[in-house]
Subunit: 182 residues, 2 copies
């Protein structure tokens, strides 16, 4: 009882943070809420619907990009990266949900808009915005998989470079490319 969409979403996020995305199951959420699995389907259309709602909650903490200068672009990228790593399995969840969203409901769309406002050529603005998002999601996904594997097994080989530094380096290359290209 006292069941609601919000409570289901926050319980799901709690399970995700504690045990990983693979352990977020309708049955586990139901058990945590002391309710039958089928009860969840009154408040939620499907598991996919729940995952979308979880993504919404996570992305709500993403600050907007204020200005499209190199410094702020790199800072925004770092923020996005940090946000994804704040929840266990956050990168996989957000990457899946953003992929099937309309372009305008995507963090990259706001980056693109800012670049266009700075009179960056449309093709460059789009490639950069889209590229930054794919890069950060791809990088965070890998980092996350490694973190998850570290918990489950032990045979995980270390990476030679600092992960956040590698990402920032790649972000910097794209950012440099935006302004140097014309």
């Amino acid at each position: 009882m006292a069941l609601s969409r919000e409570i289901i979403v926050s319980t799901a996020l709690t399970i995700m943070d504690s045990y990983g995305l693979a352990d977020v199951s309708m049955r586990r959420i139901a058990t945590a809420l002391e309710v039958q699995p089928s009860a969840l389907y009154w408040h939620v259309d499907s598991k996919q619907d729940l995952l979308s709602a979880m993504t919404e909650t996570i992305l709500a903490d993403l600050p907007p990009l204020l200005s499209a200068d190199p410094v702020r672009l790199r800072l925004w990228a770092a923020r996005f990266h940090t946000l994804l790593l704040r929840h266990r399995g956050g990168a996989e969840l957000v990457a899946s949900a953003l992929a099937i969203r309309s372009w305008d409901d995507t963090p990259a769309a706001s980056v693109e808009a800012r670049l266009l406002a700075e009179s960056v050529p449309p093709a460059t603005a789009h490639a950069a915005a889209h590229g930054l998002m794919s890069l950060i999601l791809g990088h965070a996904f890998a980092e996350e998989q490694r973190a998850q594997a570290k918990i489950l097994r032990v045979d995980l080989p270390e990476r030679p470079w600092d992960q956040a530094e590698s990402l920032d380096g790649a972000v910097a290359l794209i950012v440099a490319g935006i302004f140097e290209s014309q």
Copy 2:
């Protein structure tokens, strides 16, 4: 009978190409091979082991990067991208498997080596190689999710730009950044 590791891997890849990564289950493979699910475990340690073997097979078709000039880098990136999209769910599979691999067993490592041979500064070479791989995997993953969603549902909104072109644009920005930075 006539069961072997190779046959299990190729059957798994066939199921993946026909129905997607989510439908690649040990039980489905067993059914396809007219064998009990438990029989697979004589030839394969676990499902994770099988997924690694499948990744190996897919990546075997990735041509080496011959030279680290801008044109060939962009061409190699396009090849990698095409390779991932050739199998349904290929990007997700390869992204997961590469994440927990040692750096040297990664396509990015060979790109890094080529860049170093061209006397690109080590930090730049690593950021670029790592960035290109994450970018391509992240992009292909998203594209793949959209392709999969298109098959299952219909409410998928179209993306405003050509996907392959967007990726090439982002790749070009990184590539330009490598050589213009010093």
